[in-house]
Symmetry: C2
Subunit: 431 residues, 2 copies
């Protein structure tokens, strides 16, 4: 530990380690608190955020001014902004999380073994979570809400550009857990915008159980590389929508348009469209026209370009790189495939295993696609935009995991917990 | 990749990487094979092991001779030995795994959302597993059986002292998957005993999904430190049995004796005994006598020593280090506690979170212990020795995870799989 952190300032390391130790000590008290106490804490958080609206807006104003002075891009400044409606939304979100069923203590699969003892599994918190995030200050409230509901202590580390906003929001939330009778150390926020603090935090594997980075690829890569703690991560969303030869044409157009254009800067937007050659001549001019009218740039394989050009729809040639690009923009790469299996092979080679969709009326192909495509969410006849905790009915989410271990897809309350075995015996001995 | 592996011989790196790539390519074919095909492969494995008994025994003989010449400890040589009964046991184990329900493709929690689309989860293989293990050649067959049953490609790396045995067993198993019509590359065994191969393997994060080390603490620590791939690990078993003041005295003696002495060199053996002071005077002389007669060394806190000495039972003073030691031997550290909460605090401070047991007739204490002790298995009135995949009804196990993420406790077929989300729609759009 000492050696590994030798290149960080001692004071930063000491303060981060002390925070992590306090979280570790407080975590068992939170883990064994009743759901009623944890829900009360969430309710008080919501009340406090609303009551503290003025100081919160002032803190946010300081961040916005600094961002403008630093010449941050308007889009980034926009993500940083918190207004009265934003504060109200945070409070509502916290109350919604409070209303979800308590995941903690749930016992499942309790079965009697031949020797008479019962063996089952009990859902318990993971322990201490560290959340490292960028920009949007509302993540502070969302992340704390989900962690407290699931019985986990949380250490927050937001982006330096949102430092004052995050500190002000976290102060409300920490005060709320104390008001509810829980240790204040279950909600802590790193007090310094010093970049070295992140490095020190990622080495606290003795006290922190899981790190969740939320933000751009650069942040996530840094966390993966530096962390000594297990990471639940969300990498690229290179999502495919495949239009099968047996697709309903009208449905295929709507699903493509919705998957691509309903929101473009998000991980579950469709980036790549695969089209069976038997339907391409009918489908591509129609969907191409609709997308082009809406301002979407089309990048096609040679056959795609033929179909689009014949219909006088502007399009450019796709490069090899396009098939592996998360555009996060109104850009769609389109490829015509000869066979269903070619679509599966393309997806296997290029998907980021986030979300992939088939549009078809053929049952066998739908079932094969569901079974064989290895992504966090695989869909038949639905928009890729549905891969989301709220849409899936989880109530809320901490992000969408593209990992395979522990949790895949939207990370809701269950993803923030684990199951231990419990045994109820009456003196059974092993022979 | 190239830079990180620069200190390994190029030929070793190239051959390990090529193996990992072949496993990655073959894995989808295995993942979508039917349960019948995978079970047939397991049956052929069993047949082949039995048919190849003579060459297997000869290969093992070569390892045994080399081990004797190298002056390996008799216990290690014993673990290395494979006889006809051992081969039959491997074959039986494979047939038992074949008889388990197929975990792959199982859909659960398929629920209809308000917009009419169904959202559920499908169980799928993790992909490519690397198993790094020591000594016992039978692990080769167990690990392959579990991986193939759960649809995962497997790369084996056994201990160099068992090199010939492992190669011979793996050759049977690889031939069997090919006989069953699966790609041979789903069962591969590193061909070189070169130590550098492990380092190269642990850097194949592009192609391997999970590493499971099975063996001593040294091996596991090395894997954790060097791996670029997620690890499912099994660290210490510092297991506690707590005798509450409300324990049934006879049951407490039996459970303590069974937990400590039924087998001592295993991870789920009781290493630490905590005794409520109200029952100590009755309990300690009786259990102490029983343990001492059976050859168990007793190390006690001052109050324990008083009780044992008064009954003329030999015991030594426990040192601070004893409370954090996995003895794996007939040694028991004993501490008298004043209160139930003191037992919980001791366990929180010293347990390796493997297995902890309470013996009590008090319902409230039993329930508090179950909820508050944060270990992979928490038991009431049962022997710590029951934390085991077979005993819990999982059919077989790959080890016992002391991790919190993904899988806790015995790693059976479910622990070798993950769940992806599936969506069955009829054209739903996100608005």
């Amino acid at each position: 530990m000492t050696e590994a952190t030798a290149h960080f300032p001692n004071s930063v390391v000491a303060s981060v380690e002390s925070m992590a130790q306090q979280a570790r000590q407080a975590a068992p008290l939170l883990a064994r608190s009743s759901g009623a106490v944890r829900n009360r804490a969430l309710g008080i958080m919501a009340d406090r955020l609303l009551a503290q609206q003025q100081p919160l807006l002032e803190a946010n104003h300081r961040d916005l001014e600094a961002a403008q002075q630093a010449g941050l891009a308007p889009a980034l400044i926009d993500r940083l902004r918190v207004d009265a409606a934003g504060i109200a939304a945070m409070a509502t979100g916290l109350r919604q999380i409070a209303a979800l069923p308590d995941p903690i203590g749930e016992v499942s699969e309790l079965r009697v073994r031949p020797n008479g003892m019962s063996v089952g599994r009990m859902r318990v918190p993971l322990g201490v979570m560290a959340i490292i995030y960028e920009s949007r200050p509302n993540v502070t409230a969302d992340a704390v809400g989900l962690c407290i509901k699931s019985g986990n202590a949380i250490i927050l580390r937001g982006g330096s550009e949102a430092h004052h906003s995050n500190q002000a929001i976290a102060a409300c939330l920490t005060a709320a857990v104390a008001d509810a009778g829980l240790p204040a150390a279950v909600v802590q926020c790193l007090a310094t915008p010093d970049r070295a603090a992140v490095g020190a935090l990622l080495r606290c594997d003795r006290w922190i159980d899981v790190v969740i980075p939320r933000g751009g690829k650069g942040l996530i890569q840094r966390v993966i590389e530096e962390s000594h703690i297990p990471v639940i991560k969300h990498l690229d969303g290179i999502c495919h929508t495949y239009i099968d030869r047996y697709a309903d044409l009208a449905m295929a157009i709507e699903l493509t348009f919705n998957g691509k254009m309903q929101r473009t800067a998000v991980c579950n937007a469709t980036e790549i469209l695969l089209v069976h050659e038997a339907i391409a001549a009918d489908f591509l001019p129609q969907v191409g026209d609709r997308l082009h009218q809406a301002g979407c740039e089309l990048r096609g394989c040679p056959r795609t370009l033929q179909h689009l050009t014949a219909a006088a729809i502007p399009a450019v040639a796709a490069t090899d790189r396009d098939w592996d690009t998360e555009f996060l923009a109104p850009i769609l790469a389109i490829r015509v495939v000869d066979r269903f299996d070619e679509a599966l092979l393309h997806i296997a080679a290029h998907s980021s295993q986030h979300t992939d969709v088939i549009v078809t009326r053929d049952h066998d192909r739908a079932m094969r696609f569901l079974r064989e495509v290895d992504s966090s969410a695989v869909m038949v006849n639905a928009s890729s935009r549905f891969n989301d905790g709220f849409q899936f009915g989880l109530g809320a989410e901490m992000g969408i995991s593209t990992d395979k271990l522990h949790v895949r897809g939207p990370v809701g309350l269950e993803g923030l917990t684990c199951q231990k075995y419990i045994v109820l015996g009456s003196g059974q001995l092993r022979t």
